[in-house]
Amino acid sequence: MKTSTKGFRLPYLLTLPITLVIIALVIYPSVYIFYLSFQSSVAGVKNLAFVGLKNFVQVFSSSVFLISVKNTFIFALGSVGISFVLGLGIAYLLDNIEKGKSFFRIGFILPLAVAPVVAGLTWNMMLNPLYGIINYLLKFVGIEGLQWATHTDTALLTVMLIEVWQWNPFVMLIIYAGFQVLPKEPLEAAMIDGASSWQSFIYVSLPLLKPAIIIAVIFRLTDAFKSFDVIYTITRGGPGYASTTLVIRAYLEAFQFHVLEHAAVFGIVMLIISLIISKQAIKFLPK
């Protein structure tokens, strides 16, 4: 009886340290954010007062909120979509080239090694409309005056492309790994049946790559929804609200405007979006 009790308690004891860490670093902050979202800090953070749903009403009725939600979805879906197409294409090419495979593989992975803040600052310099090298080079092919991150028409697209540059290698790596473990028999059978390279790729390789693609897309999508560094270092959500996303707005509410309760509401919205995506994504994961 004693042994069985000991055996029953041991797993709990072993998981206790990590459980405490999770409570301290995940559960407590999440609960506190929910608590904060129903409070008002008008009389100071030390004198919070319960205000019911007032913060939610204020945030949801502001035009900035709707713009932030729209921009977040455009940014996340757009950058992941482009990353997927590019990643798949590059992985396919890498899998099929004969010479210089290692060289190109390392070359394509390099952006992953750059810290997002450094990437943001570097791209910011290169895209500077006045001194940047990109506009300087574009001038030679007759394109002039692009304002990139400093114009409302192009700011969101610019930060999306930088996000793609930084994280496309991640998608490419996972899909490339998927190519390495593809069974040869179905491809050989398709070839014997007279399928073209394109048909083999679309009807044989792609379905077989589905697990790798789903994992890459899910990881990137959850990450892109909360992407912060690149947007903050390059545009801070501007100009205007052109590149303001939920996470950027949450940061500004908390650390620039000192309205912690509004930041909490933005945080909760992001949490709900992440939960919905994760729940849907789990359905597609290989059983």
Partner: protein, 431 residues
């Protein structure tokens, strides 16, 4: 105005030779203060600075303070963006580990509400800690004295810098085109347009970044407008403010491409590179031009242009405060008293990198001789200069204002409807 300026400079230079030795003697030394500097000998205080010419110029003298008091000073300095994020975050969390730190007056209502800063009155009025005759509070410019209670708060800060919005320009570009320094906004626009047309570069620029509200405030006040009235109610769509923003918008048509990303650093870089000829911003940026290698032959500074309501530039002063959770407040006050004393502020001003808010320092012949143009401009500017009205929701108000005006710069919105829209947003925020 230029004639007056030249006469003043001549008088000052002559006076400088005569009074140079006297002025050096006239600055009261810490040893002359009737307080026991060594009362807290052997103890340590932690000081947090924001990276700034004031911090750069005070740090070399801190060993003198340690020698004078026997107090050890541990210093940390952070870049501005990091500083402005870390300080409120740590203060909110209650983990702020510094006794003394730099503050900005816009935040005064927030800091007072949260009681993050200690009231200084009891230390200033304690004869054991302060020699009021030696410290001479009335020597601070009136605007600098007001900083102590900015936003109708308790006295929790002492001004350390004297910055005022000025016209900073490239002397060589104006001279090459035979242009004179503009004295009114209409002249500024005309001169800016001429430079842009004739050189293909930017004739004049102001910030287009989300901090654009800072230099715009001087324009608005010079046109008789304001952001908030004395009762803290928004008046951002008043006819005067609309006229000022229209002028600002016309001036910004001369700005270089990408101006919505231009904070003061970008403007300084563009001016040094000759991409822009004139800008309206803090007088401190004149020193930044010199520090980046532009010679005094090419860098010029002049008083703020006049608008229909007169010359009313925006003033700015960094300040220094004591953390309310500091266990060493008396020591911290000794440090502040020493750092803002006539002697230290005089030495800092002599470095030519920063100007300090004491009348005696800015009227000292030696300080004037070192940098006559900037001292004249700042002295004049501080007489008429105004501080924007601090408010608990200051940053929340400035954000939609600045972002909407960025769209005006890009030609996406018109001035008048935009300011009407901002007025409604502000009324909603202040409900």
């Amino acid at each position: 105005m230029r004639k007056h300026f030249l006469i003043l400079v001549m008088m000052v230079l002559v006076g400088c030779f005569v009074f140079q030795s006297i002025s050096a003697l006239a600055v009261p030394l810490p040893e002359e203060a009737k307080i026991n500097w060594r009362r807290f000998e052997g103890q340590t205080i932690n000081v947090l600075f924001c990276r700034h010419p004031w911090q750069e110029t005070v740090e070399p003298f801190i060993p003198d303070f340690e020698k004078l008091t026997g107090i050890k000073v541990k210093i940390a300095a952070l870049p501005e963006k990091e500083f402005l994020t870390k300080v409120p975050a740590d203060l909110t969390a209650g983990t702020f580990a510094f006794d003394v730190f730099m503050t900005q007056y816009y935040d005064a209502p927030q800091y007072a509400l949260e009681e993050w800063t200690a009231p200084l009155g009891r230390y200033i009025l304690d004869p054991e800690l302060t020699d009021l005759d030696w410290y001479d509070w009335t020597d601070f410019f009136p605007g600098a004295q007001k900083i102590a209670t900015a936003g109708n708060t308790y006295e929790d800060r002492v001004a350390i810098t004297a910055e005022v919005q000025s016209l900073i320009y490239r002397k060589d570009i104006l001279a090459n085109l035979g242009l004179t320094v503009p004295e009114t906004f209409d002249e500024l626009l005309e001169t800016g347009n001429m430079i842009s047309e004739q050189t293909g570069k930017s004739g004049v620029v102001l910030r287009g970044h989300t901090t654009l509200w800072w230099p715009l405030y001087g324009v608005v006040r010079s046109y008789g407008g304001d952001y908030l009235n004395a009762d803290a109610q928004p008046v951002v769509n008043s006819p005067e403010t609309v006229a000022a923003v229209k002028m600002w918008s016309d001036l910004m048509k001369n700005a270089p491409p990408g101006v919505t990303g231009f904070c003061w650093e970008e403007i300084v870089n563009a001016t040094v590179a000759g991409e822009t000829a004139m800008f309206l911003d803090s007088s401190g940026l004149y020193s930044s031009l010199l520090l980046r290698g532009l010679s005094k032959d090419k860098a010029g500074i002049a008083p703020f242009p006049a608008g229909p309501a007169g010359i009313i530039p925006h003033a700015h002063m960094w300040s220094i405060s004591i953390s309310s959770i500091s266990q060493k407040k008396p020591l911290a006050w000794l440090f502040i008293q020493w750092a803002t004393s006539k002697e230290i502020q005089f030495k800092q001003a002599l470095s030519g990198k920063t100007l300090t808010p004491r009348i005696s320092v800015l009227s000292d012949p030696e300080v004037i001789a070192k940098n006559p143009e900037i001292v004249y401009t700042v002295s004049q500017g501080l007489k008429a200069g105004v501080l924007s009205r601090p408010h608990l929701k200051f940053w929340k108000l400035m954000d939609p204002f600045a972002r909407s005006l960025q769209e005006v710069i890009l030609g996406k919105k018109e001035v008048e409807p935009t300011l009407d829209e901002v007025q409604k947003v502000w009324e909603n925020i202040l409900k």
